[in-house]
């Protein structure tokens, strides 16, 4: 569905006829979608359309709960390995694909320990390297100047927006190739939301981003590509400006113009 000029964009991930089941509930119905590298792809659609379910397939989050089942394929490039194959270790996938959640969920540890955690569980790192990595991640998440003097204070003392940027820093610290955002601003005020959006816009130069959002203006502001989902199916996928100005599907048009959803 993507236009001709986009065909040359390098691809970071691609799902082919991906179906997903919560037990007997058929939540995703054959989603085929290309995620271009170093761009932000937004997943939009009404509640229950499967956008979060799709996002959580990309880092095998569903494996944490019993009774879930994938069908079809999701290829992660450059290797082109099918990451939803049962033989692929979900831990390896999660080490390459980071995630930021709907509600800021810092660990009840210090700011420093939150950012360092991803590195600590990978291997024993020397203190100086760890310090550098933590600083780099906090700078990348535009949080460094606010917290550099209180790195060892508890993370829960930060404001909601700062906590969410801390969670972004925590995800960035391990250098993910793909970063998943699950409605990252739905629990934040407008100012904090603006800062996160700005941050996502910056980050997409370096890392591939997939973002689920309820907020259509947000998708329009920060994403390059938009996928509109409805009832577990992909309705339309294209460049964001085309989705919003000239969608080819009636349902997409009705949703982006606010007539339902």
């Amino acid at each position: 569905m993507a236009t001709g000029s986009d065909a040359r964009l390098p691809v970071k991930a691609e799902s082919k006829a991906l179906s997903f089941y919560y037990g007997a509930l058929h939540a995703l119905k054959g989603i085929s979608l290309v995620i271009p590298e170093r761009h932000a792809t937004a997943l939009i659609g009404p509640s229950g359309c499967g956008k979060t379910t799709y996002l959580r397939c990309l880092n095998r989050m569903h494996d944490l709960y019993a009774g879930n089942r994938y069908e079809g394929e999701v290829f992660l490039y450059p290797e082109g390995v099918n990451i939803v194959a049962p033989s692929v270790d979900p831990i390896e996938i999660r080490m390459r694909v980071g995630m930021v959640f709907q509600k800021p969920n810092p660990f009840p540890k210090s700011i420093y320990e939150n950012v360092a955690y991803g590195l600590r569980i990978r291997q024993s790192v020397r203190r100086t390297e760890l310090d550098e990595a933590v600083e780099r991640a906090l700078r990348d998440a535009a949080l460094w100047t606010e917290v550099k003097d209180r790195l060892h204070e508890p993370a829960w003392a930060l404001s909601g927006g700062q906590q969410q940027r801390l969670c972004i820093a925590r995800a960035l610290a391990t250098g993910p190739e793909l970063l998943l955002f699950d409605e990252p601003t739905s629990a934040l005020d407008p100012t904090a939301t603006a800062r996160i959006e700005e941050l996502v816009t910056d980050l997409k130069q370096r890392v591939t981003i997939v973002i689920v959002t309820h907020n259509m203006q947000q998708a329009a502001r920060i994403s390059d590509f938009t996928a509109f989902m409805y009832e577990g199916k992909l309705v339309e996928f294209d460049r964001t400006e085309i989705i919003y100005t000239n969608p080819s599907n009636k349902l997409t048009e009705a949703y982006v113009t606010g007539r339902f959803g």
């Binding site: 019993a66 969920n105 569980i121 508890p154 829960w156």
Partner: protein, 314 residues
């Protein structure tokens, strides 16, 4: 105008009369009834405590804490009993904590939820209600006769450890369940394994609940008498257990674990069952000390809970 909801003071505006008055009366009667029952319960408790303190306070002295039992009531003390209680409590905690935390982690984080785990869950709750003498009989057969651990501190600690194990498991499971799933997901999303998530997050964040549950369980176990008599507590011990160190390699000794033991409630029981009035006063004095021990443990539990609450915020 009344800002508070004072049922007897507010003035009626006089539109609806009779039924309101009657309902407010019922309200008052119930409140009064509640107050009476509360005062009654407190009075009984205070009377018991008062009696104990009045009887025992005269015998409380440094000498009482540092003397062995004796056939002369005024020379008798609780040295071997309170040291015994401390040692047994330590061994009880050492036995119950690893087993309790391990079982709770397995049930909450690893086990599939099916009818087998449901059955196990129900039976853990049931075990918490099994009479302590039954644990004594089990321990006598298992630890004394089967494992030949003797009538020792080790047997006593293991026995009480089994006794409080269900409570520790239940408290730990509650604490583990209170760790939000978003925190677990945050850890997994970074690529952590299950063990790393459990070790770095689930266990540390639930430690407050575990320790609180443990100490409350211990403060119940500290007064247990029946199971310890069953496994062979002595009621007259005029010596201390072996020290945990020695002058030769390896410089520590576990001999103390196998020494014969007594604990505070058994010493009290022994004194109460004597005919002389003076021994009864000794029992009351030991009772005061035992209650102080329980109070200290409860205070510890409260302070641990407060400390963890201040440190852990989701």
């Amino acid at each position: 105008m009344h800002l508070e909801n004072d049922i007897d003071k507010s003035t009626s505006i006089g539109v609806v009369k009779g039924p309101i008055q009657r309902r407010k009366w019922t309200d008052l009667v119930f409140a009064a009834g509640g107050l009476v029952t509360m005062v009654l319960a407190l009075a009984v408790l205070l009377a018991l405590l008062g009696q104990l303190v009045m009887d025992g306070i005269g015998r409380l002295s440094w000498q009482f804490l540092t003397s062995y039992p004796s056939r002369f009531p005024t020379q008798a003390g609780i040295l071997s009993a309170w040291i015994g209680t401390v040692i047994v409590m330590i061994l009880t905690a050492l036995a119950a904590v690893p087993l309790g935390i391990g079982a709770a982690i397995y049930l909450e984080e690893y086990a599939r939820h099916n009818w087998v785990t449901d059955l196990i869950e129900i039976n853990i709750a049931n075990l918490a209600g099994v009479p302590s003498i039954v644990y004594g009989l089990m321990a006598l057969g298992l630890f004394v006769y089967q494992f030949h651990l003797g009538h020792s501190f080790l047997t006593a600690g293991l026995t009480l450890g089994m006794l409080i194990l269900p409570m520790v498991i239940i408290a730990t499971r509650e604490a583990i369940r209170s760790v939000p799933s978003q925190i677990r997901e945050a850890s997994y999303a970074l690529g952590a394994t299950k063990w790393q998530t459990v070790r770095d997050h689930v266990v540390p964040y639930s430690m407050g609940g575990t320790l609180t549950g443990l100490i409350l369980a211990l403060s119940r176990a500290v007064g247990e008498t029946a199971p310890l008599i069953t496994v062979g507590a002595l009621s007259f011990i005029a010596f201390l257990p072996h020290p945990p160190w020695q002058s030769t390699f390896p410089f520590f000794s576990l001999q103390w674990m196998f020494d014969p033991f007594t604990v505070m409630p058994i010493q009290m029981f022994n004194w109460v069952s004597r005919p002389q009035e003076e021994f009864h006063l000794n029992a009351a004095a030991a009772g005061i000390i035992l209650m102080l021990m329980t109070l200290v443990m409860n205070a510890l539990a409260i302070s641990i809970r407060a400390r963890f609450r201040a440190r852990i915020h989701w």
